[in-house]
Symmetry: C2
Subunit: 212 residues, 2 copies
């Protein structure tokens, strides 16, 4: 036929990104299970078999989303928090980068991230990413601690780091739910909680349960 083709033929790399964009959007809005491959395909302006051909099954597609968004976020943070800065400065820059990222991808990232916590197949994927973050935070604390000639058990370090990461994720959720909140301000508030607490710990102040 001589008629103009309804839609353009595009190279694979481009289409894959469009599909991922659509997938992130739909997964975010509907949740993993409620999202249908048909809707994702339609939103990407393509037919379903193409999605299967390029990105594989629904699970693989979700993992691909997680991967892309996760990598982007990690890069944003890593780029901001240079390892040769003092601990508080590093923490501050990391937090600012993190909340900045979440603020810029509100419905995209935060909701996707929330999804992944629940569904077993992805919990592992996410846990890996979180573990990396926890490790970085713990390493930072440990570094600062040793600089003061102090030392605490690895497990305490891990748990504290875990708590900080948890608090941060929690505020990210809060940020995602409050569209007009300021990421920078949120980062400052988080810093207040995290650093003032951490600073005390770094100076050897410890809270102990009362004797009862």
């Amino acid at each position: 036929m001589s008629s103009v083709p309804a839609f353009k033929r595009l190279p694979r790399a481009v289409r894959e990104q469009q599909m991922l964009d659509a997938a992130v959007k739909v997964f975010s809005r509907r949740g993993f299970h409620a999202a249908s491959m048909d809707e994702i395909a339609e939103d990407a302006g393509i037919s379903k078999p193409m999605v299967y051909a390029y990105l594989g099954t629904k699970e693989e597609l979700f993992v691909a989303c997680l991967h892309r968004e996760g990598t982007r976020m990690m890069q944003a943070i890593a780029g901001a928090a240079a390892p040769d800065l003092p601990a508080d400065e590093r923490l501050w820059r990391g937090l600012r980068a993190f909340f900045g990222f979440v603020g810029a991808h509100r419905d995209g990232w935060a909701v996707l991230y929330r999804q992944a916590r629940g569904e077993q197949p992805f919990a592992g994927e996410l846990a890996t990413m979180r573990a990396r973050l926890v490790e970085v935070v713990a390493g930072m604390l440990d570094h600062a601690l040793r600089a003061e000639g102090r030392e605490i058990a690895a497990i305490d370090l891990e748990v504290v780091a875990y708590a900080l990461v948890g608090a941060t994720e929690s505020l990210a959720d809060w940020l995602a739910d409050h569209p007009d909140a300021d990421p920078e301000k949120t980062a400052t508030r988080m810093m207040n909680v995290a650093w003032l607490g951490a600073a005390q710990l770094l100076h050897g102040v410890t809270w102990r349960p009362p004797a009862d």
Copy 2:
């Protein structure tokens, strides 16, 4: 027939609890979507239509689980943290009760709780519970703050409380994933992070971003 009935007939109230027990177990292990009503019914030792007759649809059933477990937890906390105690004592008792509860319901509660965050229909239900907790924590901080003749903006209070609740939830997850960890010790560690940080804030110490 004169044969013994295969299984006993039981009053509704008893069956409902058995069903809820089974539902919590299956939802925890499989996640909301992967869990099937058939498996829940089988696990409760009853047939599917009974579940529908007593507890309604799958969603309603899940909400019922959330409700029962949530109420139990709230009661455990409320019973421990009497409102006339000083702030640190209240926080400590509340945390200890909370981690004690999670420790005793590891696979039950924490996983159920995690599920609810992702699935849209329940996010609201959960948000309500969390909001109540945040409110309590914020109220406690506010009270302690006023006792020192100090005051901070409501939004700051809310965000700090939100971060503390988030950190606590996060450690609850950690606890659920580490079967041989001690709830009491976890509560102590959380207290270290939360209280030493909060105490600083209560005394008017504030962290501010560097000028750049």
